[in-house]
Symmetry: C2
Subunit: 341 residues, 2 copies
Amino acid sequence: MVKISDVSARAGVSPGAVSRVLSGDPTLRVSEETRERVLSAARDLSYVPNHAARALRTSRSSNLALIVPDVTSAVFAELARGAEEQAGMRDLTIVLARAEQLDTDSSWLRRVVGEGRIDGVILQVPDSAPESSIEALVDRDVPVVLINSMSGGPVSSLVLDDAAGIRVAVDHLHSLGHHSIGFVGGSSRSATGRRRLRGFIDAIDALGMETRDEWMTDVGYSGAEGRQAVTELLSRSTLPTGLVVANLNAALGVLAEIHARDLRVPGDISIVALHDVWYADATWPPMTTVKMPLRELGSEAVSLLLDQKADSPPEHRVIRAPAPELVVRSSTSVPTKRVTG
Amino acid sequence: MVKISDVSARAGVSPGAVSRVLSGDPTLRVSEETRERVLSAARDLSYVPNHAARALRTSRSSNLALIVPDVTSAVFAELARGAEEQAGMRDLTIVLARAEQLDTDSSWLRRVVGEGRIDGVILQVPDSAPESSIEALVDRDVPVVLINSMSGGPVSSLVLDDAAGIRVAVDHLHSLGHHSIGFVGGSSRSATGRRRLRGFIDAIDALGMETRDEWMTDVGYSGAEGRQAVTELLSRSTLPTGLVVANLNAALGVLAEIHARDLRVPGDISIVALHDVWYADATWPPMTTVKMPLRELGSEAVSLLLDQKADSPPEHRVIRAPAPELVVRSSTSVPTKRVTG
DNA sequence: ATCCTACATTAAATCGATTTACCACGTCAA
DNA sequence: TTGACGTGGTAAATCGATTTAATGTAGGAT
């Protein structure tokens, strides 16, 4: 491996000078000619600074940890891509970890952070997780950005504008002529779930429609829970003609259970799901969705982490751009008949 | 941050001694009593060795790069989990990257490797990728393990026993009474695709059934390509009663297109897909699959990477354990009628 | 001739752990 | 007494880049 002293030797200057030229130190005064010599020497030898040495000296590892509950989720994939892009631009690297490790082996994070391997943490706690597990991270000596979890509190956070997304979904159904619209959101035990429910109710109100408890469920985001949601809805008196599902994983389950009951989408019920991911048009029927700025969420998380000075107060941002966008496929249509459960 | 000299001071020994005690250097001779003092000093101060310093000295970063074509794929998720687990056990960290970056910015890998940030690479090239892009990595100065791509060649590789998985699928359909079985595999332009096709033909042969070209397609793994596969099958004379789909993403598309044609699964056609991932039972109907040892593939990749000495010849392993396992759901049944396209 | 800037660069300390080579001390045999 | 050996460590170099404080030199002003 070619090192800085090789470059400096070739350019006929000191290693210090090379370092300063290469990093563009503004306090350094060099003749244009020397600068050129250094630059071309570095190029000729294709010099790449050793990361460990730099990290040791500067005590920054240029590694960020991305901790998510579930790598499987398509939501994660988009998020990761955004984070990665932004990280790439800033010469950072993303280290992958499951939130699971936080529980089973909470020492993991402590250790990696203690070792100085991680400069910052992007954390998406499972909705199900007790908020106390977050607290455990607060006094840690790395900046943390919480994603899609609580807003407020001592840790910086970033959330999507779920309410806006849900509004788009509701508007769509309304404009098709639906007047009874149901909601399959996350559990109201989680902050996210409550935020979404609130968004739904507001959207319905704004259009002068009514919400009915029997049209709403209080389950999680998995496929199985989506199925369960439909079972619950059907066990009640009437079914709404339209359904907003706050998560595409759950929407798969919803779809499966609806089919299992021999109902038709969108014939018997129209469905709009939040988050536009690849398999939205591989379902049957292809699903109408609301595309949320997940990628931007990821990249913004990286930015926030880095722009955050050590002692600055936590920031809480809402990602609003680009605005949630309706992607019409085949799971929605004008309402036809109403089904009784 | 507490450093090694703090520990050594507290224990009344030299830093060198602490290092050697902590790393269990067998050539060090210490009295049991001194060892205890060192250990407890480290514990009391909750000493964690600085990673950068260690990396600088030992020139190993303890970082592995996991490069995949698509973080979205459920296959990736399982793989990543396996890799992560194994990495965790060995005190390594997994760095995430998209294979995309290899094309758009092939300097990325060069740079990170040059910086010494990466000790090894687990690489899953897209089936579509030219094999030349692999070559570009061969002479790099890090060990590389290729996943699910070519076998043989100068780079170590790891593949699943696809043939065995397909055999399980074919056996299942055969034992249900199917005699006309079709295949939606990967493109025959990729080594993986060819391997799978071979496995399929062998499995059919072994059971004394016949394969027909009109029952086989030659498309990729995406949902869209799965739809296209069905369109092609239907454009031909007869449809088989059973279908083996070599990938669950494609299977979603297959399912969607079948529904779109108003055919019934498993009434008109039974489907078995390779890879058992979470949404297999969130589809309609829930899909019968063959569970492949993806997790083991991931963990084995890490092991192979590390066990590989610098100058040892490349190894090519096939992951056979645990054996492919049939997961019966609702997309398969005894054959009823045969549909003409 | 002397002092003062401004300029262009360098020397050397530093980050923290690892590792090789060496040392001091005691004991035991010849 | 000497030398060989075992015991229980230590000193110091090293990994490679960064950064602070210092240094030599030329030119201009007094």
